[in-house]
Amino acid sequence: MTVQLKGKPEVVTIQWIPKYTFMERLGHWLHTATFIPLAITGMILYFPFLEPLAQGEAGLFVRLVHRVAAVIFGLLPIIYYIVEPRRLLLHIREFLPRKEDIGWLKAAPAYYLLGKHEAMPPQGRFNAGEKLNGLMMIITWFIFGITGVPMWFGKGVIPPEIFRWLVVFHDLAMIVSVCMLMVHLYLAVAHPLMWAGLVSMRFGVTSAEYAAEHHAKWYYGPKRAMEIWEAKKREGAHH
């Protein structure tokens, strides 16, 4: 069988550059592997139609899974930053709010829905959306811990009035984080523009062209990235 190609066949060579370290990826996937069971086992108590899974022996098993996963989920970031303290400093620096975050917020709808990148200011290794996602993950991680640990060990110790608040905030943190996970999954798996995201989280590398396009500030450095962006804007204004 022969395949008729229209036009000239073109070979695209991707130049791969490192983006995430092995430990960063391991941390990411262990976080995934614990958060998803936590969300599923938690939702079994949340959704009335899952009630049969919450009952009796099944329910006891569900609660055990939730606890085992919770221990790993809770300790993971602590262990990670003990093992890699320099990454903690780097991540804090990378996640601090910057001027280009406002630009990202303004340009994001056209960027993600229509693929128009002209208005998108150069972003670092983590763009403003990833930073927001990360910030919410840190906040909800704290809420899960602050509410979850007393819910586990505090029955009969802490006053019921406080316990009732804990349950509600545990639920709220779950609602927020599961909604974010859904958006995160879509962008990682199904959004055409973000094709290299999953590759880099699996293999640690990203395409140089992709990095130049989506993470220019990281790829070129802040100064050079701004020069290129300004030049592109001037060029766009002439047309």
Partner: protein
Amino acid sequence: MNGEKTERRMSRREFLGLSALGLGISLIGARPVAAARAASPDEVAILYDPVKCVGCKACQMACKRWNRLPAESTDPLGIYESPRDLSAITWNIIKLRRTQTGWHFFNYQCMHCTDAACVEVCPTGALAHDPLGFVALNRDRCNGCGYCTQFCPYGVPHLRVENALTGAAKSAKCTFCQDRLWEGIGGPACAEVCPVGALAWGRRGELLEKAWARVAELHARGMDVRIYGETEAGGLHRLSILLDEPEQYGLPSAPKTPAFARAWQRIIQPLGNVAFGAALLGILGAFLFVRRKIRMEEVK
């Protein structure tokens, strides 16, 4: 032009479909909101009369015997209450209360609320109303989450912890001797055994009439008494005659399902469902929209 029109019609149909889907997702998770129920006179109840009670604790013993609950070691402080409070293995106790009118006995057990916080928060359906009105506990369904122990305004349910580490536990509380009732053996063991008729059981309507007659009689004797449980928490299935204000007995004068239990299950959970629905809808919409607008061939 024609093509553009077709595209728009497609979008609208997809929009409607997606809206229906989102609505469906929000509804799937919706908890059926039970209409406010009032206790019916045909339901069963227990009536406690502290004037008749001699504090013999036969009720306490009968409860232990019928429900095969082990004995409990207590602190030897010379206090009449033994054990001091309800626990996972003590579902019925005689409390001694010092009120402004003197020392009084009070039989403490599950109040079997009509508007029951434990039933509201139970995620497994283990705690549910028996057709006869009281709150039954199905141990096989219970997963030991312990929410009931934290939301009951009377502090009645307790967890029987089998393994503190794995969290294996079962809730435990008075079941109104549901097994005795449905097997036709008789009424609750505590009420059946009471030698002085301080605990009586029967149809709730008849017991209320009896209680009001007794209150009138005691008023005539110059005693300041009142009925507790006629309207509290939608009507309790454990009615009591009190010789003082409920607070003096450590009973809430207006027991309610904690506002938070309601906010949690009726506001926050539905809002969460809307949030999940909206997120899914937004993602599906974006997926269909982006697929048309962004061509992979042009993506760097």
